[in-house]
């Protein structure tokens, strides 16, 4: 199945080289979880602080059990707390 993976800020360097505008279509096996994708692209799980699946926040406890589906968009953002 194919999903769109988006990585913002300093996480963008983890995207495939063909990515454009912080997004890349990636091929995954059925049954792949959110955390599987984060690990697959060698992103530190703590750096992927905000995980957004199809526009909705996925909390830390659900990232192992939330499985991706064809056509999903998964976006990853680092933490922002400065001011």
């Amino acid at each position: 199945m194919k999903i769109t993976l988006k990585c913002f800020a300093f996480l963008a360097k983890h995207l495939p080289v063909y990515a454009k505008k912080n997004a890349a279509e990636v091929e995954l096996q059925e049954g792949t979880s959110v955390n599987n994708v984060i690990d697959m692209f060698q992103i530190d799980r703590e750096d992927a602080y905000l995980v957004i699946l199809n526009g909705v926040f996925v909390c830390g406890e659900d990232r192992d059990t939330t499985l991706l589906n064809e056509g999903d968009t998964l976006a990853l953002w680092p933490e922002v707390a400065g001011g």
Binding site: A12, W77, V80
Partner: protein
């Protein structure tokens, strides 16, 4: 035919006030009644750094009745790249005093109170309980969690901004709205991350964008104009100039907002 209610309300504002705030009174969503609400409002700004100085400037210019500014720091040379209420000559002054001077020059009608201290514990509780709306413009997670908790304890709307590097984030939490999550619904209090702009870097206009949007949401909260950013967080990536909206629901079992009756 003259609308008698609007006429009476307009009479409650002086000619100078009508002229001063004319540009926003012309907006039908604000009008004279919205301006009166602004003039009667008390907003607490916690942290007058990159975010807080920008929000404070716009809120003072808009005619907010009372602003309370809280920050323990002094103005340093390294602040001047982004903290635009300060100038070169203000180095070494308490930020709250320097910001007060700038805001007073901008709009002497605004009543300004200052607290040259970090707000924690009893002082935080007392200060939040006395304000109508709270703007979190701090630079660390520990303060953010405590402010969030206290705002929910006293049922005060919280406009939360954050920025670092090229990224910004904006959320509005309204304890009285059951659809509103709180900061702790999607931030981990055990996070090892603790970020400051001085340690990580930040582009000045990024804090300007987020601080301005905090002022927008505060004005909307006071006047009732438009739709608030409830149940959503806006994320901004300035490098690609992209915005993303993230939907967040109140987290089941959240120890802060889950206690609401």
């Amino acid at each position: 035919m003259i609308d008698k209610t609007a006429y009476r309300q307009a009479m409650d504002l002086s000619d100078e006030q009508l002229l001063h705030y004319n540009a926003q009174i012309m907006l039908p969503e604000i009008d004279v009644s919205g301006q009166q609400k602004l003039l009667a409002a008390h907003i607490l700004i916690i942290g007058v750094g990159g975010l807080g100085t920008v929000a404070a400037l716009y809120l003072a210019a808009a005619g907010t009745g009372q602003l309370t500014l809280a920050d323990p720091d002094q103005v340093e040379l390294t602040n001047l790249q982004r903290q635009i209420s300060y100038n070169y000559a203000m180095q070494g002054e308490a930020k709250v005093n320097a910001c007060q001077k700038t805001l007073n020059a901008l709009n002497p009608e605004v009543s300004l109170a200052t607290i040259e201290s970090s707000l924690h514990g009893e002082l935080l509780e007392r200060t939040i309980s006395q304000a109508d709306i709270i703007l979190d413009c701090t630079d660390n997670l520990k303060s953010r969690f405590e402010i969030n908790k206290t705002c929910f304890k006293y049922a005060k709307p919280l406009v939360c901004g954050a920025a670092i590097r090229w990224e910004g984030q904006l959320s509005v939490f309204v304890p009285a709205d059951k659809d509103s999550p709180c900061y702790q619904c999607f931030h981990n209090p055990d996070s090892r991350l603790n970020q400051s702009c001085s340690a990580n870097g930040v582009l000045g206009p990024v804090v300007g964008v987020i601080g301005s949007m905090q002022a927008i949401e505060a004005i909307k909260l006071i006047t009732g104009a438009g739709e608030l950013l409830i149940g959503q967080t806006l994320l901004f990536d300035a490098l690609s100039l992209q915005w993303q909206t993230m939907q967040v629901s109140p987290r089941t079992g959240c120890e802060i907002c889950g206690q609401r009756v």
